[in-house]
């Protein structure tokens, strides 16, 4: 079971995780094209929360008791029994946002361009998610543990 953790002491809130997340989820996977040419601009699946001297990045916690999956009205949200990854099937998502109200982390976001929810998918096709790989302070770490928290 893979999930991403943040070391808050090392996060300076630079936002590069967001930038690389957006790039990874763009059509071109090119940072300049993703930000300058693509419309709509790809949405990040990770956000930096900052307040006073505290900052940390947050993305889907891949919960073992996923309220978003339990609350999904259409069955678009799915908890993969093997990988433990929480996925969303954009074809079946109707943008009712019940999952957003159900998520205690605020880790889901609306994609208003196609009226579906978007979330961290741990970057399929990459061994190391883009946010982790590109954090200059190694504040983001990928952990592979047996238990889901």
């Amino acid at each position: 079971m893979k999930r991403i953790y943040v070391k808050e002491e090392a996060c300076i809130g630079c936002g590069l995780c967001q930038v690389y997340c957006q790039t990874e989820h763009s059509q071109s996977k090119d940072i300049i094209k993703a930000f300058k040419k693509e419309s709509p601009r790809p949405l990040p699946r990770v956000w930096v929360e900052a307040r006073e001297n505290v900052s940390f990045a947050i993305q889907c916690r891949q919960c073992s008791e996923p309220w978003c999956v339990y609350s999904c009205l259409t069955g678009a949200m799915h908890n993969d029994p093997v990988s433990g990854l929480i996925t969303v099937d954009a074809e079946r998502c109707i943008g009712c946002w019940t999952c957003i109200v159900a998520c205690p982390y605020g880790a889901l976001t609306k994609d208003t361009s196609n009226n579906t929810v978007v979330k961290c998918d741990l970057c399929p096709g990459r061994d190391i998610p883009a946010c982790v790989a590109n954090c200059p302070n190694e504040a983001l770490v990928l952990s592979e543990d047996g238990e889901k928290g």
Binding site: F56, I58, Y70, A102, P104, S143, D145
Partner: protein, 433 residues
């Protein structure tokens, strides 16, 4: 027929139970009975069926091979009419019976149809099942131009939106003084009504329909003040009541719904219930209540399923929680949104143009919330409500423009972020504390 597990009802609750049972027990016979013809579909999507945005295929809540994949005996188009708990049998309409060891009544609710004269006329519909949506869809072929929707609750508004999208002029008749009055407060209702009016929906509040009149075709509804409103279609959407007839037949304890304990067990130890039929624990009111919403049905069903399969799980409790997006306006609401007559509640609210946010507190615990316009962080507030977190020290931050987990005290966000157990990778040589 014989089954270890019998689930009556094939919607969110029944499927939640079936999935939990199959996590715990892959072997024993599991049977689901439905009085509908379809594999499990999303009831909330019937309005999108009516607008033709969704076909049945797209409405399916689980893949079409769900039953086969999970080794489930699925009996569609069957209705159980009698239960004999002492013999552990359920009897079908045709007299055939099935013997069960553990039974789940996930039978849902039935639309309330008041005794309005003319309610049996052609062109009068309820709107809770796919068959209802199909019937309305077919009736629209007759060239319907004007519709009356009786009831300005969730189902009424959802039916209204679908009809408007089909090019029909709709009037909503709401008995109380405002639409959506059970789930949002006055201010949010006002905003919803504004959005409805923008779509040229007319809303008549404070009145009921006394009669539905017509001859072969519908002609009009007549209100309690004798006002006559011409229409060729009527949708009755004043609410849903729990289907308790089987529980009644079985001698199980019923209050407003089928009463269940924290294991979702009824007063009979081998019979469980969940969803719209059941009266389960509401963590806001701290008592058993009807909370007929899809997520609670699924979670309650899941808990029932585990317990039916011998795994001890407790229902964490649910409350009324809704995310609405009709007519282009997003509304999230949960718990107590309209204050009872009491001084024990504190309200924090904020309005800025099309954005409205409100949190209701009791003794520094969140007991209700409304988010209109900007709902993206409402889940954090709902989570604090569900987890019963004392928010006294940071309650004023709950409605901050850039509100997020970082606004919570360190201990709370640390718990939520968790500490990494073991590190498979960090992007440099090592990572030390």
């Amino acid at each position: 027929m014989r089954t270890k597990y019998l689930i009556i009802g094939n919607s969110a609750g029944g499927i939640g139970a079936a999935e939990a049972i199959r996590e715990a027990d892959e072997e024993n016979i599991l049977t689901i009975i439905s009085d509908e013809s379809y594999p499990v579909y999303s009831r909330p999507l019937i309005s999108k069926y009516l607008t033709k945005e969704c076909t049945l295929d797209k409405m399916l809540y689980r893949p079409a091979d769900f039953y086969a994949q999970n080794n489930i005996v699925f009996l569609p188009d069957r209705r159980v009419t009698h239960l004999e708990p002492s013999h552990r049998t359920a009897q079908f309409e045709d007299g055939e019976h099935i013997i069960w060891e553990k039974l789940l009544l996930a039978v849902g609710g039935t639309p309330i149809v008041p005794k309005i004269g003319g309610r049996e006329r052609k062109g009068v519909f309820t709107f809770t099942t796919l068959n209802d949506a199909k019937a309305v869809d077919k009736f629209l072929e007759n060239g319907v131009k004007k519709a009356v929707v009786i009831g300005g609750g969730l189902i009424g508004i959802s039916a209204t939106e679908a009809l408007v999208k089909r090019g029909i002029e709709v009037k909503i008749i709401e008995m109380k003084e405002r639409v959506l009055n059970t789930i949002i407060d006055e201010q949010a209702s006002l905003m919803a009504e504004e959005a409805l009016k923008q779509a040229e929906v007319k809303i008549i509040t404070g009145h009921t329909v006394a009669e539905i009149s017509g001859s072969d075709a519908l002609e009009s509804v007549i209100l309690d003040n004798e006002e006559e409103i011409p229409c060729d279609l009527v949708v009755i959407a004043i609410g849903v009541s729990p289907r308790t007839e089987l529980a009644l037949d079985a001698g199980i304890k019923i209050n407003r719904g089928i009463v269940v304990d924290c294991h979702m067990a009824t007063s009979h130890p081998d019979i469980y219930s969940c969803g719209d039929a059941a009266e389960a624990y509401d963590f806001v009111y701290e008592e058993n209540r009807l909370t007929p919403i899809w997520p609670n049905a699924y979670v309650g069903g899941r808990v029932a399923g585990y317990n039916m399969a011998g795994i001890d799980k407790e229902y964490p409790g649910g409350t009324a929680m809704n995310s609405l997006n009709y007519f282009g306006i997003d509304i999230a609401s949960a718990g107590i949104t309209t204050l009872p007559n009491s001084n024990n509640y504190e309200v924090i609210s904020k309005q800025d143009g099309s954005i409205y946010q409100k949190v209701v507190l009791k003794d520094d615990f969140i007991v209700g919330m409304i988010f209109v316009g900007n709902i993206e962080k409402s889940g954090i507030v709902f989570g604090l409500m569900r987890d019963k977190v004392n928010v006294g020290s940071f309650k004023q931050s709950l409605l901050a423009d850039d509100f997020g987990l970082a606004f919570l005290p360190r201990k709370l966000w640390q718990e939520r972020l968790e500490t990494p157990p073991e590190l498979a990778y960090s992007n440099r040589r090592h990572w030390s504390n």
